[in-house]
């Protein structure tokens, strides 16, 4: 497909730019084109590649059933390296290739940069992992949806848990200086301060990839924090927690969806025991989720990576909406997304007017015996 593009460009360049000018309305092509965009190379590839795999599996399943309304689903996979400037190119490329809906992007920053382009072209976008609240709450992007909770909702869950369940009085809020982690940490800080029941004793960022986190861990200890809320992803979380264990600290460690990932338990091993993390409600009894994970194991002989279930859900939701709407027209798809419930690995969901998923339950988990167990 990609190499064919070049030929097509040279032969029918003008025609193509005309086709561009007309919004990708209705049923123009003979396939339904599902774009997948996110980091597929570079240091953040591990967050983007599971999404590609999820999309591949969902599409294979749909096509095996004969496609949607008689049409096969085709994947257009594009890498944005999680960089905003690359994301605009990626988005333009997808739009030029006549994409109907997009699963992506992975990082909030890249998503923000790409969304205006999709909006202009009337393409619905659903991210499995972009959690920046502004994406839905600003109302700027009517074509944006996501299958993951936004930062503020997650931060609220974490803070409520830390204060009301754990009973923490002094909380250290640590983040990884990243888009996701820092955003979340800031919400956590605000919620803690608002609650009046606990104080933030430390609010700092660690440098991802640094060789050693001893100093920050010592600092947490010195500040006498009884709980740590960490905003960020599992590599940093596991480094911090193992460093804390090495220093014989027993401070409660609470983190987010970026840590509620089996990889965290694998990497942190024994040190992961007792760590709390927020995440979508337990799906281990959800047959769709079980099937999705089994499909991954079968196809790739490995466990799925980060945001796999969210991505799987998003792909299902998007294709389902197209099927129900009977068209890839933006208004119809949006309407279908909002009204038609769909069974996905993260629950039986539809979407609210802003684009956040309804029905994605949120819960706190604790690592017990090498597994995340929901805290009731």
């Amino acid at each position: 497909m990609k190499s064919a593009l070049k030929k097509k460009l040279f032969v029918t360049a003008v025609a193509l730019s005309f086709a561009m000018a007309v919004p990708a309305a209705g049923i123009a092509g003979d396939t339904i084109k599902l774009g997948v965009a996110g980091a597929q190379s570079g240091d953040l590839a591990s967050y983007g590649l599971p999404t590609v795999k999820a999309a591949e599996l969902v599409v294979a399943e749909y096509n095996a059933k004969g496609g949607i309304n008689g049409k096969k689903v085709e994947l257009l996979i594009e890498d944005d390296v999680c960089k905003p400037e690359v994301a605009t190119n990626t988005a333009t490329k997808l739009v030029t290739d006549g994409v109907d809906v997009v699963l992506g992007h992975i990082c909030s920053g890249a998503t923000k940069a790409a969304l205006p382009i999709y909006k202009e072209a009337g393409v619905v976008v659903m991210s499995p992992s972009a959690t920046n609240p502004g994406l839905t709450q600003s109302g700027d992007y009517p074509n944006f949806f996501r299958t993951i909770a936004s930062d503020d909702a997650q931060a609220k869950t974490e803070v409520d848990f830390a204060i009301n369940v754990i009973g923490a009085k002094k909380i250290a809020v640590i983040h990884d200086k990243g888009d996701y982690g820092k955003g979340l940490a800031e919400f956590a800080k605000t919620f803690i301060e608002k609650s009046g029941k606990a104080e933030v004793v430390l609010f700092e960022g660690v440098t991802p990839g640094a060789v050693d986190y001893t100093a920050i861990v010592q600092k947490i200890k010195r500040k006498g924090a009884d709980a740590v809320i960490f905003g960020g992803y599992h590599p940093e979380a596991s480094k911090i927690i193992s460093m804390m264990k090495k220093k014989r600290m027993t401070t409660t460690f609470i983190s987010d969806d970026g840590v509620k990932d089996d990889t965290f338990i694998k990497v942190a091993g024994k040190n992961a025991e007792g760590v709390y993390a927020s995440g979508p409600q337990d799906n281990s009894t959800n047959p769709v989720s079980v099937a999705a994970i089994a499909a991954h194991k079968k196809a790739y002989n490995s466990d799925p990576g980060a945001f796999y279930e969210n991505a799987y859900s998003a792909a299902l939701a998007l294709l389902n909406a197209i099927e129900k709407a009977g068209s890839t027209d933006m208004a119809a798809v949006v309407k279908a997304l909002q009204t038609e419930k769909v069974e996905t690995p993260v629950g039986n969901i539809n979407f609210d007017a802003k684009g956040d998923a309804v029905g994605v339950g949120f819960a706190m988990y604790k690592v017990e015996n090498g597994k995340y167990v929901e805290v009731k």
């Binding site: 190379s41 990839g209 050693d212 100093a215 990497v267 942190a268 990576g305």
Partner: protein, 300 residues
Amino acid sequence: MDYFIELFFGGLTRGSIYALIALGYTMVYGIIGLINFAHGEIYMIGAFTAFIVATVLSIYGFPALAIIIIAGLAAAVWSSSYGYTVEKVAYRPLRKAPRLAPLISAIGMSIFLQNYVLLAQTSDFLPFPALIPEFAFMEPVAHIVGSSDLVILVTTAVVMIGLTFLIKFTKIGKAMRATAQDKTMAVLVGINVDRVISATFIIGSALAAIGGLLIASHIGQINFYIGFIAGIKAFTAAVLGGIGSIPGAVLGSLVLGLTESFATGYVSSDYEDVFAFSLLVLILIFKPSGLLGKAETKKV
């Protein structure tokens, strides 16, 4: 005071880690005047090799001590081989090229090796087996200095002494010093400069591999990207100490490690790297060739 000591030891560990990588930078720079950007990747490959070998051995049920020794050796052997090959493929043909050409080649090599490991292995973080055991005698002070910190400190000290000995007294060390000072003269007195340069890469890479093994074991995880940040920091440390100088690399690394540790401890870790780089700028302004670098005498 306890807090100060904790930070001090934390900084020392961090500095020692930098030192093991920085030594490779400084040796290569001293001899061919090249910033070997791929050195961080050599370190990463060392860590990966150790990871692979150690995991395989533990699956086949080898005893812990054997695992450490074999994994360490394997890491050193393969890192050295990579270092040697990288020099031969990417730098040697460029020995007479304009000054920046090898630098770009090095950047290219760094990107290549990163993606090579990414594709051949995985983009995920992997749990690195705890090769360094928790010593019982360290338990009373474990909240200040852990066992792995101790091992890292001791290893760095031993390596440092060994390296100084090697450079000062052995034949290859003397050849290295001669080559570093004047390549043409070294050739004239019968030194095989190519071989000396290869030896430098091999030794530097082996040190990086030891560093990779220790750090990975200390923090318990690796992925293909760990070489990049560690590499830049180690390079900063080498320059800070005076690039080309071996004691300088160690001193620079320790200063950098301590600065970062104290900056985090007493100010904020938000600006930890800002402190590190500002320190570098400040020191270079007042001492343009680094802490222990020889002031360049202009020969006119």
